[in-house]
Amino acid sequence: MRTADVVVIGGGIHGCATALHLAMRGLKPILVEKDYAGRHASGVNAGGVRQLARDLAEIPLSISSMALWEHIEELVGDDCGFESHGTVLVAENETELASFRARVEDLRLRGFTHEELIDRAELKRLVPAVADHCPGGVVSRRDGAADPFRTTQAFRRRAIEKGAEVLEGVTVTGLSKVGVNWRVETSAGPIEAPKIVNAAGAWADRIAAMLGEPVPLTVVAPMLMVTSRVAPFIQPVVILRGRKLSFKQLGNGTVVIGGGHLATPHRDRNETVIDWDKLAISARTVWELFPAMRAATIVRAWAGIEAFMPDGIPVVGPSSTSEGIYHQFGFSTHGFQLGPGTGAMMAELVATGSTNTPIDGLGIDRFSQRKDPSLRSG
C-alpha cells in the first residue's frame, strides 16, 4: 500500500505546480495522471501568459502567478520558453474602446494597475501590422507567452526532483474515507493520504462526483492553428473582444491563431474533432486584421480538452462536503498562466489550512448555493 501526505489527481500545469510546491514545503505528494503530464489542455494550449482581461475574482492569483513566471527558471530549472512582450487587447471601434476605458478605470479604483489604456498611436507602435480601423486598446506590459508542454514537463520534473512521486498512465477509480485518511483507488492499486487535491481538469467533475459533490462542468476543446514561419512582424500577444481571436507570433516566426472557437471533444477517447467552419471565421478575422498574413500557410490545427464552468472562472479551494479534499479545476480556457501561482497558493492552503492569497468567489459552494437546478446537474 502506497501512502503519501497528499494525493494530487491530474498532471496538468496545475497538478504539477501544486505537487512541486507541496514537495518544496517538505510534504510527500503522489501525483496520479491518467495519461502523461501535459497530455491535454496544459500541454497544447496557446501558451499565453496573460494578466489582461481577467475576472476580478482571479486577479490576485494571476498577479501572484506573474511574479513566479518572471523567475520561472529559478523555480523549475527551465526557462519554459517564456518571453514577455505584453498582451494587447485591440479595440475594433470606439464603442469597444469606451468599454475598455471603463474597465481600466474600475480596476484602478480597486488598486490594480496592470491594465493600461492605449490610444491609436501607441497601438500602432506596439502592433504596427494591425489594420488602420482600430482606435486603440488595452495593454498589460508584463504579459507574455511560454511553451505549454515544456512548462508542464518542467514542473513535473522539478516536482520529482524535490521528492514528489508521479504516476502516469494511472487512473483514479474511487475515493473513500478510511479512518483519518482518504483511500484513493487507482488502476495501479490503492494509495492512502490524509489530503487530496482534485486537479483533474476536464475529468474533475467525476472526481467531485465520487465525493457526492456534483459540479456543472462542461467539457470544451478550444481550437488553435499554427502557420509556417513568416518574417517577424509582431511581438505582443494580440486578443480581441468583439470577435473571438488570439494571435501570437513565436520567436521562430510561426504564428499561433486561437481565440476560443470550439472543437467537438470526446473526453472518453482523448479525441477532438476540428470544426473547420469555425476556424474559417478565425481565418477571415486574421485576414481583415493582419493583411500580411493572407498568404501564410496553416500547417496544423488542434484542440485540447478542458473544463469550462458556467461562470467562466475556476473552482479553487476546499471541498464543501469532504474534509481534506481541495479543488483546483475548471479554469475555463484560461488556466495556463494561473498554474504556478495557484500551485503555490494551494500548497500553502493544504499545508497550513489557510492562505494569504484571496480566493473569494472561486469556491465550489457557489454552485450548490444557487437555486437554479440546471446548474446542479453533473
Binding site: 509556417s228 474533432v273 476540428i274
Partner: protein
C-alpha cells in the same frame, strides 16, 4: 476543369487518391449508381505507379513497361463510369464524421460523404544516410516522377542506392529511356535470405518471380551492382562523391546525383488524422491501419484501400479498391448489382502470393533506418539523430512529447515524411518497440493550406452551422 463551386455539398462516396485503388473503387461504385467523386491532388490520375498515365510524353511503351500502361485502362474505366474525377484537388482534412476538406485552385470546400475510401497509397520509406539533405541527393521516387511526367532521365554521374523491387524497376526504366547509371549500391542485408527462404516456394509460383528475375538480369547486364552495408553522401554545397563500404572495405565514387530508395510504406497521414486505429507491422516495419476483410477501418464509413492499407503493390491495390467499393455499394444501395466478391477476393489472394518473400528479403537493415550522430532526421527543423537519441535518454517516451524539446515534427511537414525514423530511433534508444512508442498524433490540415484558402470556405455555410451547433 471542375471548380470548387461545381461540387455538390454531399456525395454517397468520396474517394481520395486516383491511383489504382481509387480509380477501380470509383469506377465500380459509380457504375453501381452511387454518386461518386474522386479527388486527386496531381494534374492527372494514376497515382505513383501510373503517374501521368493520361499525358506522359514517354511514348515508347517499352520504357515504362506494359505494367505501367495497364493503368490507362483503369483510368479510362473510371472516366466512363460516371464518377466525377477531380484532379488538382488537395484533400487537407477528413474527420470521423466523414466531412472532407478539399481545395481546388485556391478555393476550399467541406464536403459530406456517406462513405469514404482513402486510397492515398504509399510514401517512400525515410532513408536517412549521412548527407541525404545535400543538393544532388534525391529520392528514387522523385526521379521516377520526373521520368514519367516529363520524360527526363538523369545525366551526369549517377548512383542508385538502396533496395526493394521498385529500385530495380526504376533502374530498368532509366536505362531503357537512355539514361546512364554508374553503379547500383544494394543495401539489402544478405542475412535477410534466412527469413525469406521459407516463403520462396510461394514466390516462385507468383508472377513476381519471372518479372523480378528479368528485371535484375536487365539491370545487372548494364550496371555494376555493389553490395554495401554503409553509405554516405559527401559534399560541401552539393553532392561530390558517394562513400560506401562493406566490412573494413571503404570506397569512394564521384557522383553528381545519388538516388535513394528503401522501399515504400503506407501513407497513413489522412487515416490517422481521421482517427483510424493503426498497428505496427513488424514484417514491413511500418504502421498500417487496422482493417477488416472489406477494408473497413475502425471509423464507421471510412475504409482504406490500396497500398495505404499495407504494401501489396499496384495490381492488388485495384482489387482492394473494388472490394472496398463493393462494401460501400452494399451499405448504401444493397439492390445494385456488383461484381462477385468472391472472385475479386480470389484475384487479390493470388496477388498476395510472393509478398512475404519480397518483404523479408528486402527488409532494410537497422543501420539504414536508425541513424547515428549528426545525420539529419527531420529536415524541416534540422534535428539530428543524436538529438533524438539524447532526448529519448532524458526520458522522452514518444514523438509527441519530443516536439516540445526539438520541434521535430512541428515544421511544415509535421512529421508526415520522417515520422517513422523518429519512432524507430526512440524505440531503439529506449529498448522498446515502435508499437509501444507510437506515432505522431497527426492533425489536420493533412496538407498545408493557406489562410486565404481557409478563409474562402463559404460564409453562409459557416454561419448556418454555427447556429445549428
Amino acid at each position: 476543369m471542375t471548380k470548387a463551386s461545381d461540387l455538390a455539398p454531399s456525395y454517397d462516396l468520396v474517394v481520395i487518391g486516383g491511383g489504382p485503388a481509387g480509380l477501380a473503387a470509383a469506377a465500380l461504385a459509380a457504375r453501381a449508381g452511387l454518386t461518386t467523386v474522386l479527388f486527386d491532388e496531381n494534374p492527372g490520375v494514376g497515382g505513383q505507379i501510373y503517374r501521368a498515365i493520361t499525358f506522359s510524353p514517354v511514348k515508347d511503351r517499352a520504357v515504362l513497361g506494359e505494367d505501367y500502361w495497364a493503368g490507362a485502362e483503369l483510368a479510362a474505366e473510371a472516366k466512363a463510369s460516371g464518377a466525377l474525377i477531380v484532379t488538382g484537388a488537395t484533400v487537407w482534412s477528413l474527420d470521423p464524421t466523414r466531412l472532407v476538406g478539399v481545395s481546388i485552385a485556391g478555393q476550399a470546400r467541406l464536403i459530406e460523404a456517406k462513405r469514404v475510401i482513402i486510397a492515398t497509397g504509399s510514401l517512400e520509406r525515410p532513408f536517412p544516410v549521412p548527407g541525404w539533405t545535400l543538393p544532388g541527393v534525391m529520392s528514387a521516387g522523385g526521379a521516377q516522377t520526373v521520368l514519367k511526367a516529363q520524360g527526363l532521365v538523369p545525366n551526369g554521374k549517377t548512383v542508385l542506392a538502396g533496395g526493394g523491387p521498385l529500385m530495380w524497376l526504376l533502374a530498368a526504366q532509366i536505362l531503357r529511356a537512355g539514361g546512364k547509371i554508374d553503379a547500383v549500391l544494394d543495401t539489402t542485408p544478405r542475412k535477410n535470405w534466412l527469413r525469406a527462404l521459407a516463403h520462396l516456394p510461394d514466390f516462385v509460383l507468383s508472377p513476381y518471380f519471372a518479372k523480378g528475375l528479368k528485371l535484375l538480369r536487365e539491370v545487372r547486364a548494364k550496371v555494376r551492382v555493389i553490395r554495401v552495408d554503409r553509405l554516405e553522401a559527401v559534399g560541401d554545397d552539393k553532392l561530390r562523391e558517394v562513400v560506401f563500404g562493406k566490412g573494413d572495405n571503404e570506397r569512394r565514387m564521384p557522383a553528381d546525383l545519388l538516388l535513394l530508395h528503401q522501399g515504400v510504406v503506407p501513407n497513413v497521414n489522412l487515416a490517422l488524422a481521421a482517427g483510424v486505429a493503426h498497428a505496427w507491422n513488424e514484417r514491413q516495419l511500418c504502421f498500417e491501419p487496422v482493417l477488416d476483410e472489406d477494408f473497413n477501418s475502425s471509423v464507421p464509413g471510412i475504409s482504406v484501400a490500396g497500398d495505404g492499407a499495407g504494401i501489396a503493390g499496384g495490381t492488388a491495390a485495384a482489387e482492394r479498391g473494388r472490394i472496398a467499393a463493393i462494401a460501400a455499394v452494399r451499405a448504401l444501395k444493397p439492390e445494385a448489382s456488383v461484381p462477385d466478391l468472391q472472385i475479386v477476393r480470389q484475384k487479390l489472394q493470388r496477388e498476395a502470393m510472393g509478398r512475404a518473400f519480397l518483404d523479408w528479403l528486402n527488409r532494410p537493415a537497422d543501420s539504414f533506418r536508425q541513424p547515428e550522430g549528426d545525420t539529419i532526421v527531420c529536415r524541416c527543423e534540422e534535428v539530428t539523430a543524436r538529438q533524438v537519441r539524447d532526448t529519448a535518454d532524458l526520458g522522452c517516451e514518444g514523438p509527441n512529447q519530443m516536439k516540445a524539446f526539438l520541434r521535430c515534427g512541428m515544421g511544415p511537414c509535421q512529421g508526415r515524411l520522417r515520422g517513422l525514423t523518429v519512432t524507430e530511433l526512440i524505440a531503439a534508444q529506449r529498448g522498446t518497440t515502435p508499437a509501444e512508442v507510437g506515432y505522431y498524433r497527426l492533425r489536420p490540415p493533412v496538407k498545408p493550406i493557406t489562410l486565404s484558402e481557409l478563409a474562402s470556405l463559404p460564409i453562409a455555410e459557416a454561419e448556418r452551422k454555427a447556429v445549428e451547433r
